[in-house]
């Protein structure tokens, strides 16, 4: 979304200090992925968002897939009650057919936001764990398409039924 000067002046400002601009938060969340992937992880810090880009190898893909992970100070999307740091937006393989993508912006649906904490990603897991989830997710999508996609495709990973159940998952 491109903003003109008038929109920028009117837009609500995020708090000057939010988790994504804190060096100690960045270092903490990046530590394991830096060890594994080195300089291939690129970080871009802006006033209201923190963006990571990294090429990720996915089995069955000739070339690495570019993954973009965006943390927002004040997310412009629903976080379903989760703190912003625990519900970043993850983008890869734009417009690829998949049963698990957010309908509004095509972000990957990596986990059910109302899952128990141990069953969804949190910053203390580190970025490497999130990237591993992304790698698996992209592979599951490719396998699902190979197996028939919307015509009987098989999703190899665990799935949560779309929408929200009547009761919270345990």
């Amino acid at each position: 979304m491109s903003w003109g000067l008038a929109e920028l002046v009117r837009a609500p400002r995020p708090a000057a200090r939010w988790y994504g601009v804190e060096p100690h938060w960045q270092v903490w969340v990046e530590a394991d992925v830096r060890r594994e992937h080195g300089a291939s992880l690129c970080r871009r810090t802006r006033l209201d968002r923190l963006t990571y880009r990294i090429p990720v190898e996915v089995r069955g893909r000739r070339d690495p897939v570019l993954v973009r992970i965006v943390f927002h100070a004040e997310p412009p999307y629903r976080t379903y009650g989760l703190p912003p740091a625990e519900y970043p937006r993850v983008f890869a393989d734009t417009s690829a057919e998949s049963p698990h993508r957010m309908p509004d912006d095509d972000a990957l649906c990596l986990y059910f936001p109302h899952s128990a904490p141990a069953r969804r990603w949190r910053p203390e897991n580190g970025l490497l764990a999130l990237i591993d989830l992304v790698r698996d997710h992209l592979f599951f999508e490719a396998y699902w398409r190979l197996a028939g996609g919307h015509n009987g495709g098989i999703w190899l990973g665990d799935e949560q039924r779309h929408g929200f159940p009547a009761r919270r998952s345990a």
Binding site: E36, E57, V58, R59, G60, R61, R62, R78, P99, H100, R101, M102, P103, C109, L110, Y111, F112, P113, S115, A118, R119, R120, W121, N125, L128, A129, D132, L133, R135, D136, H137, F139, F140, A142, Y143, L146, A147, W155, L156, G157, D158, E159, Q160, R161, H162, G163, F164
Partner: protein
């Protein structure tokens, strides 16, 4: 039917081996240079070293190495005595005069070089290659000790290239040629990954870990394990025990950065071996191809087949059938995974 890794490696190696046509021409030019030098320095002897002498040359072939040991009966030349400049100058003039008839565009350089005379033929041996060169060392015998004195700018340094070639040839014999085959593959991997080590460093390390017949795959695995263990501690010393300094890694890297490059390669190679052992030949082929990252030498397998086999592996691991505990996909599959459930609103 998917080929096992060893025959895949053999096919790949044959694609990067120097051709007979290249070898014949390189040897012919080497002989011409040798004749010129032996005429200039009566009583001298010529030795050969480098990839052609060691049996591990790659295509395109870009250079040949040799040395001439000049008689020094009065020990006129040597450390503390006359430096190598006069001899280098004589050799360079002789080469220019002796080779100009056949190679009109020839250039012979030595003035700003550390050790050797560089002969640039301006006439590649391999069609399409940039050029073909010869590295010529002008040496004198080290009468009181092993090896030779070779130029080190305007002074002398110690080396024993004849012993190096002897050891390499012995290793080729002891390993039933596996030594040369494995080094060829390693040299190709090395040149595709920023050349962390020089070719001689690869071979020097191999002398200590490739000592009996071995498959190419096992040889490469053994080399990476040995090289990482050794270079993690120190640079590789001269196998002949003569050179004052150890073999340097790529000047753009520290020793430990070179080790990091080797570790990355080792990870892929070991993963390929593990996948083949676990019964996933397509994935093993895919991993080995990604180890080299050269589709002309070793093409990737069909990626749909890779996806299918990775799916089989994932299902078998989840069901507890596969070897080891792998909860994810791809490299890093063995890292614990958050048991997340994919979703959409």
């Amino acid at each position: 039917m998917m080929k096992p890794l060893e025959p895949l490696l053999t096919d790949a190696r044959k694609r990067i081996e120097v051709t007979q046509v290249e070898l014949d021409e390189a040897r012919r030019r080497r002989s011409v240079i040798a004749l010129v030098l032996m005429r200039e320095f009566p009583g001298s002897r010529v030795y050969v070293n480098g990839s052609i002498a060691h049996g591990d040359a790659l295509t395109p072939l870009t250079d040949v190495d040799l040395g001439v040991v000049v008689p020094n009966p009065d020990e006129e030349y040597g450390p503390g005595k006359k430096g190598p400049t006069t001899l280098l100058d004589r050799a360079a003039r002789a080469l220019r005069a002796g080779l100009r008839e056949e190679f009109g565009d020839l250039r012979v350089e030595y003035e700003v070089r550390k050790r050797s005379i560089l002969v640039k033929f301006n006439d590649a041996v391999t069609p399409g290659a940039d050029d073909f060169t010869a590295d010529v060392i002008v040496a004198v015998d080290n009468v009181g000790d092993d090896g030779l004195f070779i130029p080190r700018f305007t002074c002398w340094g110690r080396s024993h290239p004849e012993e190096h070639t002897r050891r390499v040839k012995q290793a080729i014999k002891d390993t039933h040629v596996a030594y040369a085959h494995v080094n060829r593959l390693l040299k190709h991997w090395n040149r595709l990954h920023g050349k962390p080590l020089c070719s001689w460093n690869i071979k020097a390390l191999s002398l200590n870990c490739l000592t009996e017949p071995v498959t190419q795959l096992d040889g490469m695995v053994a080399w990476f394990e040995h090289a990482i263990a050794e270079l993690s501690v120190e640079l590789t010393p001269d196998p002949a025990g003569v050179a004052e300094k150890p073999i340097s890694v790529n000047e753009k890297l520290t020793r430990l950065q070179a080790v990091d490059v080797l570790r990355e390669g080792q990870k892929r190679l070991n993963e390929a071996v593990a996948l083949e052992k676990a019964g996933y030949p397509v994935l093993a082929h895919d991993e080995l191809a990604r180890f080299f990252l050269d589709e002309e030498m070793l093409p990737l397998p069909d990626q749909a087949a890779v996806t299918a086999e990775e799916g089989r592996k994932f299902r078998e691991n989840v069901a507890g059938i596969g070897v080891g505990v792998a909860t994810g996909t791809g490299l890093g599959a063995h890292r614990p995974r958050i048991p997340a459930a994919s979703w959409a609103p």
